[in-house]
Symmetry: C2
Subunit: 135 residues, 2 copies
């Protein structure tokens, strides 16, 4: 329960698994490798670590599933990603493709406090007027 030291890399695996299983797909090693653009062997290795930490369940040669704990963590990571992406695209007007890449990296470097502040900022400037004029 302690704030498990889940590296940026492992967070990426969790996020990928969440996205895959959200799409109905059962999250196989090959799919994860494809999404993350890594060798399958690397995925197998990472899954071993994630399983040790109780974040993933994975029988040999079987599909991969998030545990409850892993799911919660993955959702957190994905939220970060989306908040940051939203900010980059909607506020800064960064090109969506670039923003997507940036979000992938930034999501691992932003403190919780900054994330909160970012959410607050978006609530102020987004909901208040999703089309707020700038002319």
């Amino acid at each position: 329960m302690s704030p498990l030291p889940v590296s940026a890399s492992l967070q990426d695996y969790l996020e990928a698994i969440l996205n895959l299983s959200a799409n109905g797909e059962p999250a196989r090693v090959t799919d994860i490798a494809a999404v993350l653009n890594l060798a399958k062997a690397s995925v197998t290795q990472a899954l071993g670590v994630l399983q040790e930490q109780g974040l993933v369940s994975h029988d040999r040669y079987g599909p991969v599933a998030l545990t409850d704990q892993g799911y919660r963590l993955a959702v957190t990571v994905k939220n970060r990603h989306e908040v940051i992406l939203n900010f980059l695209v909607e506020v800064l007007r960064v090109d969506p493709l670039v923003a997507e890449q940036d979000a992938c990296l930034l999501e691992h470097s932003v403190s919780s406090q900054t994330m909160e502040k970012l959410v607050q900022f978006l609530e102020r400037n987004n909901s208040a007027g999703s089309r707020m004029r700038e002319e």
Copy 2:
């Protein structure tokens, strides 16, 4: 001249050296190690790499200096740091200490485009009106 692959870690060394030499200090291995909170041996090693890449000049047992190229790169890195810090503190109102830590990490993950957009945003919302109306 090509976009040298200078890792985040090496960028930190450059930034530290720039900050130290800006303070009059001659940037010694010990100082760099202290600033970055690393072992001196690690600094020596990194300096070797930086020297190979022509970013730093460093005679055995002597002080460390940035080359022209290294200086330019270090300034770029430092600028990124300051822009991000400024944004976090002035716009998001993140606690300065937390913001400082975040900036150290974020400066390595943000694309050039996002940096530009961030600068534009700050120019709009900072200089134009440090008290911009939000009512």
